[in-house]
């Protein structure tokens, strides 16, 4: 065990695992046990998480592990393998088996399997409140006697039963050696299979290399043909010694199945079921009082054939309204805070120079801006994730999967793909990072992979600014239609791509059925919802903190290196010098000459531009007055030069000249920046790509923006901002600037459509691709997640732009054609695959 153990003899640290069926409340009890103050580490695995935590009692530290939920302990599914390997390999000092007290009949199947693993066990009867509300009474003492286990009742949601559970853990641990073997009464007898079990156990007993394994369990697994057990045997004994054992087991299986007429595993399950029934007889009363439960009454409405779509749409709309619409409103209050932070940092950085700003300043502001655009979404995410947590926790999410499975399945996805797609931003706004992360819960490997690759096609919040920008420039009249296209094309493309991938690269992946429990409705708890919302938002912020900032630095470097040649620099400096000299000459004999010239020049120009910007941004007369006050305080000498007093002719002239100088400076800075970017590394790449991308209508500037948006989508607009940037005091919006420039360059709405389509299909951002690596566990798939969408996006954009140009289509015509074409394709594919599937199924059933 990797956890440190205390050396002191009177203190004893132990390791406790929480095991149980899905939704039994393990994680809830884990939090109850370890407490919110305790350090809880999250180790993201490939598809399942084991959560580690700890707490201290009088005797020492209790290291606690929250295992994934498993219905049983076979090796068919990944979460079962993870749980089983942990229990067998680590042999925790105590295992707490968390069971749903309102569904003991099913839950105890796992308990009996845990006992077969010969683990020191505590039974936690959780959900006692649910059981009580359904009129179910459990005689826990009788159950404890029959099982030979400590049994504790808990209500995880309310934190009830914590002390009893902690004591029971210590109790078992004290007597651990005495109860090494399960209580005889709790050992399941397998009837006609017993002789085979006994004989295999006898064979194992002679084998020292198997001495640490529970023999009865191992025999049962071999007889059920469990592949992981066969493998374990081969690992321990080597192939030669394992083979005879396997063959013996094989003969027993054949003999049993011919004699009994049923499969071993069916027999095992039904023996266990009978054992459970005996255990529960007289210990549980009142199960199933015939009255329809609240859940059933709610479902009659919510899952009603006609009402279900209505509820679903209403829910999705509610999420959208609350998180995206209201969330955006909140950002109008939080954005000024971020802007203030930027001002503050800008004040700390070295000031702007006349021509070239110091690197520390430009890089610093670049980083602040990158972080700010992302942090701006935090309020939206908090609300969005809270809303989703409420839906998950209430039990409605499972119903959404139930309702949508048919459609999603037809395209190679799964009912449970719904949550990842919503998180990714089906309609508008989301983030692919938590979306890809949430695919973990999909049991079907192929559908999970298809979901991972389609989540990035959703409208993540960061795509929205570019869409808004382009719509603002090119689609003023058709804005709402375009918005409709953009917010619904995501799912259309996603379904088509999922189908394509399922039929091609993912064809060989494992699939598994949709067999899912529809949990009872719960009222979500406030802490549970907040915790999940903060956790997911925190994941998002970490992305800002690490990947995006790191990549922002790289992009910054690529945009600045190698920089202008000495010759060009000298050229610009000479131009600047000339402008300054003109200014000086014009001010000859002016009363303000001394104020304006000498060492004062650069601060004055900065003062001038700052003042102009402040005035433009000030709202109302009061705001304007405050700006006046502030600038008078900042430098009373300069003030007459930016706001000449009435009648002061010298001031007026100086002001006019200053304005000229500022304009000249601005023009020079812009030219320099453009030249610098054009000759920069990224500019070179962007221009190098022009021959390919011109098919889609992209020039090098757009190429650069799209390249840098791989770092984080947000930066596409930021980079476009830089490329179409004017100067500090410019308050023309990016829309106006870009509109003017691109239109001057012959850009059309068709180009905008081409960009929108490319952006919709473009690869996931860097943070998402890293998540793809984590979830698929393979660099190849990560690479695929980058290359495939790039080619797809470029292909679609080029086709639309080239054909559109050839036939002279307008932007809105092209977009409508693409959209409705995709919808038509979707319908065709959906209908065809339905027919094929039913044909195949009929054929398969005819065989059996």
């Amino acid at each position: 065990m990797s956890e440190p153990r205390s050396e002191q003899p009177h203190r004893k640290d132990v390791q406790v695992a929480l095991a149980g069926q899905q939704n039994a409340g393990k994680s809830t009890l884990f939090n109850v046990l370890t407490g919110a103050r305790q350090h809880v580490a999250n180790y993201p695995g490939v598809t399942v998480d084991k959560k580690h935590g700890q707490y201290s009692d009088d005797l020492g530290t209790v290291y606690t592990v929250d295992l994934p939920g498993t219905y049983s302990l076979t090796s068919f599914s990944l979460e079962e393998r993870v749980a089983r390997e942990f229990l067998l390999g680590e042999r925790p000092d105590v295992t707490v088996n968390v069971v749903d007290a309102s569904n003991l009949r099913r839950s105890l199947h796992l308990t009996l399997q845990l006992l077969e693993l010969e683990l020191p066990l505590v039974l936690a009867l959780n959900m006692m409140d649910v059981a009580a509300s359904r009129g179910i009474q459990v005689d826990k003492d009788l159950l404890a006697r029959r099982l030979g286990l400590a049994v504790v009742t808990t209500v995880g949601r309310k934190g009830e039963g914590r002390e009893a559970l902690r004591q029971a853990i210590r109790g078992v641990e004290d007597g651990a050696t005495a109860t090494e073997r399960p209580h005889p009464a709790a050992v399941v007898r397998y009837g006609a299979l017993e002789p085979a079990i006994e004989q295999l156990m006898a064979r194992f007993a002679t084998e020292p290399r198997l001495s640490d394994l529970p023999r009865r369990w191992l025999a049962l697994q071999l007889l059920q043909g469990d592949t992981a057990a066969v493998q374990l045997l081969a690992e321990r004994l080597g192939d030669d010694a394992a083979r005879p054992l396997r063959e013996t087991a094989g003969r027993f299986i054949d003999a049993f199945e011919t004699a009994a007429g049923i499969e071993v595993s069916d027999h095992v399950v039904s023996c266990r079921d009978q054992a459970v029934e005996r255990l529960l007889k007289g210990a549980v009363q009142g199960a199933g009082n015939g009255r329809p439960s609240l859940t059933e009454r709610i479902d009659r409405f919510v899952l009603n054939r006609w009402a279900a779509p209505f509820f679903l749409v209403a829910t999705v709309f509610a999420i959208y309204q609350v998180s995206i619409v209201w969330g955006y409103e909140i950002t109008t209050y939080t954005w000024p805070l971020l802007a203030k932070a930027r001002e503050l940092i800008a004040g700390l950085l070295p000031g702007a120079d006349f021509l070239v700003d110091p690197y520390t300043r430009s890089l610093g502001l670049w980083l602040v801006d990158s972080a700010n655009t992302l942090l701006n979404y935090v309020p939206i995410f908090l609300i969005l994730f809270a809303a989703i947590a409420i839906i998950e926790d209430s039990g409605y999410m499972a119903r959404i999967a139930f309702i949508l499975d048919k459609i999603l399945h037809r395209f190679g996805l799964h009912g449970q793909s719904t949550l990842p797609l919503i998180l990714g931003g089906v309609f508008a706004g989301g983030c692919a990072v938590p979306g890809v992360m949430a695919t973990k819960g999909i049991p079907d490997t192929r559908a999970r992979m298809a979901t991972i690759f389609t989540v990035p096609f959703m409208n993540c919040l960061a795509k929205v600014p570019l869409y808004t920008l382009l719509l603002g420039i090119f689609f003023v009249e058709h804005k709402s239609l375009m918005l409709f296209y953009i917010s619904t094309m995501t799912i259309v493309f996603a379904l088509l791509v999922a189908k394509l991938l399922t039929k091609t690269v993912l064809r060989g992946q494992e699939t598994s059925p949709f067999v899912m429990e529809l949990p009872h409705y719960h009222l979500p708890t406030v802490t549970g919802v907040l915790r999940r919302s903060f956790e997911r938002t925190w994941q998002y912020i970490k992305k800002v903190g690490t990947v995006v900032l790191a990549v922002a630095v790289v992009v910054f470097a690529l945009l600045h290196l190698p920089g202008l040649s000495a010759e060009r620099k000298a050229h610009y400096e000479a131009e600047a010098q000339a402008a300054v000299e003109r200014f000086a000459a014009a001010l000859e004999g002016n009363t303000y000459r001394d104020v304006a010239l000498g060492g004062n020049l650069v601060p004055l120009v900065r003062y001038f531009t700052d003042y102009k910007r402040a005035k433009l941004n000030a709202t109302g007369a009061a705001g304007s007055a405050r700006v006046t006050e502030r600038f008078q305080a900042r430098n009373a000498d300069f003030y007459p030069l930016v706001k000449p007093p009435a009648g002061d002719r010298d001031a007026r002239k100086a002001w006019r000249e200053l304005r000229k100088l500022a304009r000249a400076r601005q023009g020079l800075r812009k030219d320099m920046r453009e030249e610098r970017i054009r000759t920069s590394l990224l500019g070179t790449i962007g221009r190098g790509l022009e021959p390919v991308t011109q098919l889609a209508g992209f020039d090098w500037k757009i190429n650069i923006a799209l390249l840098s948006s791989f770092a984080a989508r947000e930066s596409s607009v930021a980079t476009l901002g830089v490329l179409f940037q004017q100067d500090e005091d410019q308050n023309a919006t990016l829309e106006e600037r870009m509109g003017a420039e691109t239109r001057a360059g012959g850009a059309t709405a068709l180009l905008a459509v081409s960009m929108i389509l490319f952006f919709a299909l473009y690869p996931p951002c860097l943070a998402t691709t890293i998540m793809v690596k984590v979830q698929t566990g393979s660099y190849q798939w990560m690479l695929f997640a980058i290359v495939f969408p790039t080619l797809l996006g470029l292909g679609v954009a080029s086709a639309v732009y080239s054909i559109g140009t050839a036939v002279g289509a307008t932007g809105i015509q092209a977009m409508s054609a693409v959209y409705w074409g995709a919808v038509a394709l979707l319908l065709v594919v959906g209908l065809v695959s339905d027919r094929q599937a039913s044909r195949r199924l009929r054929a398969r059933l005819a065989e059996t």
């Binding site: 099913r106 359904r134 139930f402 199924l841």
Partner: protein, 85 residues
């Protein structure tokens, strides 16, 4: 032989045997769809597939494709038999 797929909402049946294998079968067994278990078909999804079943204390949904692999007998015809074997 009747399969679970043929049962209309409201119908109560006893499970006879599974035609599926491997992980599918195991998952069905784990969720309580054991031979001899009694299940009620509650409803089908708005698009007809999947279907929802009620067992003892839990509700389970599965696709019709899997439902077809579960042989059942209607409970009325079966009433004389004891509750378990």
């Amino acid at each position: 032989m009747l399969s679970l797929n043929d049962i209309r909402p409201g119908g109560r049946v006893r499970i006879r045997r599974h035609l599926s294998t491997g992980a599918v079968r195991q998952r069905l067994l784990d969720l309580g769809l054991m031979p001899n278990a009694v299940v009620t078909v509650v409803r089908s999804a708005p698009l007809n597939d999947p279907i929802e079943l009620k067992l003892d204390a839990s509700n389970v949904s599965l696709r019709r494709r899997e439902a077809r692999t579960i042989e059942v007998s209607p409970l009325e015809a079966d009433a004389a038999e004891p509750d378990h074997v």
